[in-house]
């Protein structure tokens, strides 16, 4: 053929369109989300001292080692640099009490990344949020250790840290009266909760820090508000209707919104791309489901806090939601009326 007669040609790359791509990559997403968690981590360190650093660092190291170990064992490509194992470790750390024995942090990390993520096929194939499974495993296996909360007084020599109960625990066991007694009046209770000056998992306490990070993610369009807002709204409404001791519509939704792992969970865990629905209507349903289960557990179940189990249970439904809440396609309505 004539085209071959003209000697060597310049070699050109041939591939299917589109030939250009946005700058967005999986590593960039993972590292950006990690950065957005820095305020929460800083406040955790401020309130809970060096142990917050140790626990978080161990969770991160444990997660990354687990990723490396399982990928190595399975003969897969090592994907440590994509930042997803780092992020899971960071989230797990932020969801741990600062008092936790170090080996628990390591075991939980392995359950998170080694089992929940890698053994299910790696990033993109896990059914459950890895960090939350790690935490759930630890909570069920070591219930005492996982519910021993340090007093948030930044014990920089944290050897004999004093322990206390979380606001949600007090609310459940002793009621709103006791909470007010401890924190003074309602206003200072809200203020302390907002700042995060209370017992709890080391990265979950400071609402302000969490909201700064979340605002950054929303601004960068890394997360949408559909899941967080429907989640929070459902909890607020549920707490208001059923949360009071004096009958219906006497609950305090603000205490419920500002306590426990709700903010961290709603903005950073429930929005996990892999384990939440992809279509907007489905996401709203998912958020409502998370909120409903959270308030159900908080008010009626044995645990004072229900965010973790709520998200994990809804994770199971995410594929089902996606299957039933598909997008409505361009031109579909017209086609329906024509036929």
């Amino acid at each position: 053929m004539e085209i071959n007669k003209q000697g060597p040609k310049q070699e050109l790359i041939v591939s299917v369109s589109p030939h250009i791509s946005s700058e967005e990559t999986v590593p960039r997403i993972m590292w950006t989300v990690s950065i957005s968690l820095i305020p929460a981590l800083v406040m955790g360190i401020y309130y809970f001292g060096p142990r917050a650093v140790y626990v978080t660092a161990l969770c991160i190291i444990g997660s990354m080692l687990s990723e490396w170990f399982v990928q190595r064992l399975a003969g897969k490509e090592i994907t440590l640099t994509d930042g997803s194992a780092f992020l899971t470790g960071l989230l797990l750390g932020l969801n741990m009490p600062s008092t936790i024995p170090f080996y628990i942090a390591l075991v939980a990390s392995f359950v998170s990344v080694g089992i929940t993520k890698q053994l299910f096929g790696g990033l993109g194939y896990n059914i459950f949020n890895p960090a939350l499974i790690g935490r759930a495993f630890a909570l069920i296996t070591w219930p005492r250790a996982m519910t021993t909360w340090a007093v948030p007084d930044a014990q920089f020599l944290a050897i004999n840290a004093k322990t206390t109960a979380t606001p949600l625990g007090i609310l459940k066991e002793e009621g709103m009266g006791k909470l007010l007694e401890l924190f003074g009046d309602k206003l200072s209770l809200y203020k302390e909760l907002l700042l995060g000056h209370r017992a709890g998992s080391l990265g979950e306490t400071s609402m302000i820090a969490i909201l700064i990070g979340a605002a950054f993610l929303v601004y960068r369009r890394y997360i949408s508000l559909r899941i967080p807002l429907s989640f929070l709204a459902t909890v607020a409404v549920g707490a208001w209707i059923f949360g009071g001791k004096g009958g219906l519509f006497t609950g305090d939704p603000i205490v419920h919104l500002l306590s426990g792992g709700l903010m961290l969970g709603a903005f950073f865990m429930a929005t996990d791309y892999v384990t939440c629905p992809t279509v907007s209507r489905g996401q709203i349903l998912f958020g409502i489901g998370c909120g409903f289960l959270t308030i159900l557990i908080r008010l009626k179940a044995g645990y004072p806090e229900g965010v973790m189990f709520a998200i994990l249970i809804m994770n199971c439904f995410a594929p089902l939601i996606d299957r039933n809440f598909r997008t409505s396609i361009f031109g579909a309505k017209k086609a329906a009326t024509n036929t």
Binding site: L12, S17, P18, T25, R28, V274, I329, G331, A332, K333
Partner: protein, 434 residues
């Protein structure tokens, strides 16, 4: 600002590379390769034999079906061979090779200053005879769009001046330099379709073109010039109709199902030339641009001119150029041979350096971030199409409206895992029936 509602993306436009370059006439090639199939539909049958002399504008390929368009010699000279050549879409296509005899002798063209007074059928006949096809890249024979079945009443015609593909500036320059001809083309279309309403849609990133076209159309109350939001794929037929008329082409349907005909700016210009000067479609404006081209230009090139000659006219490829695209970077085809000829659908030649292009040979798992769902102008779920195709579950992909995808590439553009979604969709389309 009007726009379509679902999805859409904002890739960097890079129009500045060529939008100020006045259209230059590219020298007629020494050897023109005129493919017998430059349109969607049946290929043409050659009317010439090897050794025969042909004149520029002479009919050399006759259509063999309703959805088809004739082809004409783009230069005068001797037919040296009829053989398969690579077409921009990658396939080998039977082509007529003409060796230029430098006479540039044309077949007699029939001038008609009173073209607007002709009957609709006469004008339609000229459009058909001129071999005009959609010049935005889809190359659908224009006369077929102008001949809807009786039960489909057409009530609007839109000239597509969106030019939403990054880099491309051919339509932009044509609107700037020949606004009157473009508007006349629209008037001919309105006459053929017996309409009293015509629209021209232009993205807002071409304010100078909007002004020129508005001026050219100012004495005609029946023509509306619409400024559209700069958003890809604004120039896709379905999106353009939604933006201007707020009508949705039914899934699986055609614009004519909702009474609309859309024609590209270049096509309108060709229609004018055919009806006014009797000139067949043997040349077109091509943007030769991109970071891999030394001096980006807009060239008026004869059909059959090899891409290599266009590039030489623009100072050649830069040393870093690794990919040459026929069309735009979102929907164009990467060509593997620089001897590939310009065809009726070649809106641009975009040369890219390695840093400008995406490599999808190695891609990651889908993380279900949903960016593709938000970007899809058709409201599809590209991630599901991609995942099902990857797992060879093509029938499941079909259930997710596989065949409503027109491969604009918005999903693959935004995908952080750099998944070859369009490629997977194309594969699935070949593996199942609609």
């Amino acid at each position: 600002m009007s726009t379509f509602t679902l999805g859409g993306i904002h890739p960097p436009e890079h129009k500045e590379l060529a939008c100020n370059a006045v259209i230059e006439v590219c020298k007629a090639p020494q050897r023109a390769v005129v493919p017998l199939s430059q349109h969607i539909g049946a290929p043409c049958k050659s009317l010439v034999e090897v050794g025969q002399r042909v004149l520029a504008g002479q009919l050399i390929g006759n259509p063999e079906g309703f959805v088809s368009a004739p082809v004409h010699a783009s230069i005068a000279g001797k037919v040296t061979s009829i053989e398969a050549f690579p077409a921009p879409i990658g396939r080998m296509v039977p082509s007529i090779v003409i060796e230029n005899d430098k006479s540039d002798e044309w077949t007699p063209l029939e001038d008609d200053p009173n073209y607007l007074e002709r009957a609709a059928d006469v004008l339609k006949g000229r459009i058909k005879a001129a071999g005009i096809v959609g010049m935005g890249g889809a190359t659908f024979p224009t006369v077929v769009k102008l001949s809807p079945p009786k039960e489909k009443k057409i009530d609007a015609v839109i000239i597509n001046g969106a030019e939403c593909e990054p880099f491309l500036t051919a339509d932009h320059r044509l609107m700037l330099e020949s606004p009157r001809e473009v508007v006349e083309g629209l008037k001919i279309l309105m006459k053929v379709l017996e309409l009293d309403r015509g629209y021209i849609g232009i993205e807002e990133n071409k304010p100078d073109a909007i002004e020129k076209i508005k001026n050219a159309a100012s004495n005609d109350k029946n023509i509306e010039v619409w400024t559209l939001l700069t958003k890809y794929p604004q120039g896709a037929e379905k999106m353009l109709i939604k933006s201007i008329l707020n009508r949705e082409v039914p899934a699986g349907g055609l614009p004519m199902d909702i009474g609309v005909v859309v024609q590209n700016v270049g096509t309108a210009y060709a229609i004018y030339e055919a009806c006014r000067n009797g000139k067949p479609l043997v040349e077109r404006v091509v943007s030769v641009t991109g970071p891999g081209v030394t001096t980006p230009k807009n060239l008026r090139a004869r059909i059959g001119t090899p891409v290599s000659q266009l590039l030489e006219t623009c100072g050649g490829l830069r040393s870093g150029a690794v990919k040459v695209i026929s069309g735009g970077p979102m929907m164009g085809f990467a060509i593997y041979d620089l001897d590939t000829p310009v065809t009726k659908g070649t809106s641009g030649i975009v040369a890219m350096e390695d840093k400008d292009i995406v490599h999808r040979t190695k891609f990651n798992h889908c993380i279900r971030c949903g960016r593709c769902v938000e970007a899809c102008p058709m409201g599809l779920m590209p991630l599901m199409l991609s995942l099902y195709s990857e797992k060879a579950l093509y029938a499941d992909a079909r259930d997710y409206h596989l065949f409503d995808c027109f491969e604009c590439g918005s999903c693959a553009y935004v995908c952080p895992s750099k998944r070859p979604i369009v490629q997977q969709i194309r594969l699935a389309k070949t593996m199942v029936k609609p």
